[in-house]
């Protein structure tokens, strides 16, 4: 087909596009995913019974806000990576810095604890279930973000997949924090970070295949 005819055909079927369509799709994906994640938490886990009391402990807020910071950075990265020609700039720092801060906190706690108490700080009582639980709760956000990305145009699919994973992992860890009883920084530094890293790696791995356009 001649390019002129092709252009005429494209222009003939063009419906108007609402402004900020791309940003809205990602925000919608986040809302749907978050709602489903909370549903999984309430149906399968339940919030901790002393949730109100826990709100007075600083470590509870660290556990909640550190993944939320990662999720926020992931969301900003996603908004930039989903649109061609928009530069990522320093958005990835938003994922890295909260993790580094938690690692620093954990190192301090580790050094201050007596040697025989350290393993308890690291393993807690729920290290076995922590990572799979975060991954499970992250799954709806991950799927919704990937589905939204498939209707957009990421030119760096591996990185876009990783950003979707950071958003999902951050949301998953923050939601799981409402259930989790662990309060030791070393536990969070290892198992929460691992739970977030899992969807990030999964996104980077399947991004190039799933996000082609």
């Amino acid at each position: 087909m001649k390019t002129d005819e092709f252009v005429a055909m494209l222009a003939a079927g063009a419906a108007p596009v609402p402004p900020h369509a791309a940003a809205r799709r990602l925000a919608l994906a986040l809302c749907v995913g978050l709602a489903l994640s909370l549903a999984i938490l309430w149906a399968g886990y339940g919030t901790r019974h002393d949730l109100v009391q826990a709100m007075f402990w600083p470590m509870f807020w660290v556990k909640l806000l550190f993944p939320l910071a990662v999720a926020a950075a992931g969301f900003v990265m996603l908004q930039r990576l989903a649109r061609p020609g928009v530069r990522l700039r320093r958005a990835w720092l938003g994922v890295l810095l909260p993790v580094l801060a938690v690692w620093l906190l954990a190192l301090v706690a580790w050094m201050q604890a007596p040697a025989e108490a350290r393993m308890a700080l690291l393993m807690g009582r729920s290290w076995r279930t922590c990572v799979p639980s975060i991954a499970l709760i992250a799954l709806p956000v991950f799927v919704a973000a990937m589905a939204a990305l498939r209707t957009l145009a990421p030119t760096q699919p591996a990185l876009a997949g990783a950003a979707a994973g950071a958003l999902a992992g951050g949301v998953g860890a923050a939601v799981y924090a409402l259930h989790c009883h662990e309060l030791a920084a070393p536990f969070i530094a290892v198992w929460y970070v691992a739970g977030i890293a899992l969807p990030v790696l999964a996104g980077a791995a399947i991004g190039p295949r799933l996000l082609r356009w």
């Binding site: 390019t3 063009a14 649109r83 061609p84 020609g85």
Partner: protein, 183 residues
Amino acid sequence: MRTSDAETVLRGLLLRGLAGDAAAYHAFLRQLAGHLRAFLGRRLFGWPDDVEDLVQECLLAMHNQRHTYQSDQPLTAWVHAIARYKLIDLLRAKAGREALHDPIDDELAVFAESTTEASDARRDLAGLLQTLPERQRLPIVHVKLEGLSVAETAQRTGMSESAVKVGIHRGLKALAARFRNTP
């Protein structure tokens, strides 16, 4: 059209098109096709047949992804990112296909042409011309290499027109003889 002008014009057309102005959108795509053809043609000069297909491929991608353009962003960056993505896609597919077959005369083709040969020829000719006497060399340089007429050459060298003709004739004969003698 300068780049900044094209940016302003095309961006204006696209924004009107996104708002629902079909004529503006049509004009946008038509002008965009011209820019893409030039951009991709320069990068695909080895495969001229693929340029128009890739232009259409890019136009289709930009049409389908037009909701990913946000008005606070330079249009050039958006267009370039999509064109580059599609170009790399094509080159990758080509590389995969080329790897499957191994044309037998490809190895010979590497040495079939050489750009140094042309410059070697120029250097050899200049060397041979230096061996000729001036009344033969100047007519050859002016008429055969620089493309002047016999009359102009005669005027410039102060020789008569017939002397110029004779000089060319004898000079070329002498050059031919020397070519035969050089191994």
